[in-house]
Amino acid sequence: MIRIEGLDKSFGKLAVLKNINLSFERGQIISLIGPNGSGKTTLIKCILGLVMPDHGKIFFGDKNILGSWDYRSQIGYMPQIGRYPEQMQIQQIFSMMRDLRSTHHDVDEELIHSFQLPGIFKKRMGTLSGGTRQKVSASLSFLFNPDMMILDEPTAGLDPLSAEILKNKILKEKANNKLTLITSHNMSEVEELADRIIFIVDGDVKFFKTVGELKSETGENKLGKALAKITGS
């Protein structure tokens, strides 16, 4: 569904992504992990067309995404820090996004309801806590029934209960043959969700393996230990 070929990106002299080659298919949950500043968010932003690569191509389906924007109707994006016009109410944000996307097919409001957002629909975005904003961001990324979700540290600011709701939703969409790309620093969460793992350090993809492969190669049962073993050696 997504194919990345020979992607290079540098900011000034700093090479952030070096010759990335990856491809993802429907029905997968792919976890993007790596230390802070290793290029995870930049890679995500390249897929979204927010950052322009220096070299290389990204295909969505068969189409090169460079200079195109309609493919983004198939992507739901949840940024690491979602900030919105402070004066707008939660409700207005949702209706605005619907208006802007002028979508014709059905919307998926499941998360809005399971996060109990309708109860605080009249609150202004500027008054919300970080966690509540995350809930709004999460609900927005699933709202338009996209084929692919890109979630940048989705559970970082959420309380355990809400994180659980979100994780269940991600798994449910996987069963619907959707693709999810997720970054996280929480290994138990990665273990619960992901079936494939991309490990990226200093803009280099160190490996792209299924969780099963990782465990059998290292002989460890826990993903965290398996990773420690494989990266330590």
């Binding site: 932003k45 979204l48 927010l50 950052v51 924007w69 309609d70 109707s73 919105y84 707008m88 802007l100």
Partner: protein, 255 residues
Amino acid sequence: MMKILKYVIYDVLRSKMIIAYTLFLFLLSSGLFWMNTDSGKTVVSLLHVILLVVPLISIVFGTIHYYNSREFTELLLAQPINRNKIFLGEYAGLSCSLAFALLAGMGVPVLISGSGEAAVYLVVVGILLTFIFTALAFLASVRSTDKARGIGTALLLWFYFAVLFDGIVLSILFYFNDYPLEKPVLFLTALNPVDLARVITLLKLDTSALMGYTGALYQKFFGSAWGISIAMLLLLLWLYVPLTWAKRIFFRKDL
């Protein structure tokens, strides 16, 4: 683009700053019209304030708005919307709000006092300056990711156009007064939208004593009607060039 414009206007018109700006303009212009009986003099006093304040507010508010809505822009960019439309929508939304503030704050007193064509020109020129300096604000903002640097650049631009430029022109006139300077000065005026705006309003007033050197020159070379048209055309160029330049940078920018 119209949808984005709608939401930006909605957001901007609710901010306290724009309300204060409207009130300031309203009190200033209605006060001046009320105190002065000679509408020509009022227009000239108003002109001097407008030429300083409108560019300053437009460029500072424009830069601040750009940086404050960066996350919102990012949100829009992740949607299936063309980048150019996002940029133009944001620009049009902000500049239209500022122009609306000017129209409400200054246009209304001008209409009520019925002080003639020159005052209407002043409003038109003020609106044009709003659009130009918002475009310059966006240009300063897209060129730098650092907020402090962007605002600094914007303030420098304003200082140059509104204050420094006159000093430079005057010193050129002073040091080279032995040479025929009319054509070079005419050219120099075209390099500053604030000066062009002044020339347009003063040409319309037809009080050559107040016109200053450049205004008199425009009248001498082009006559009032031609002078105004050419100055207007140059102003539109001042709008088009920075805006297209900024849009081009925005289109290729990493966000």
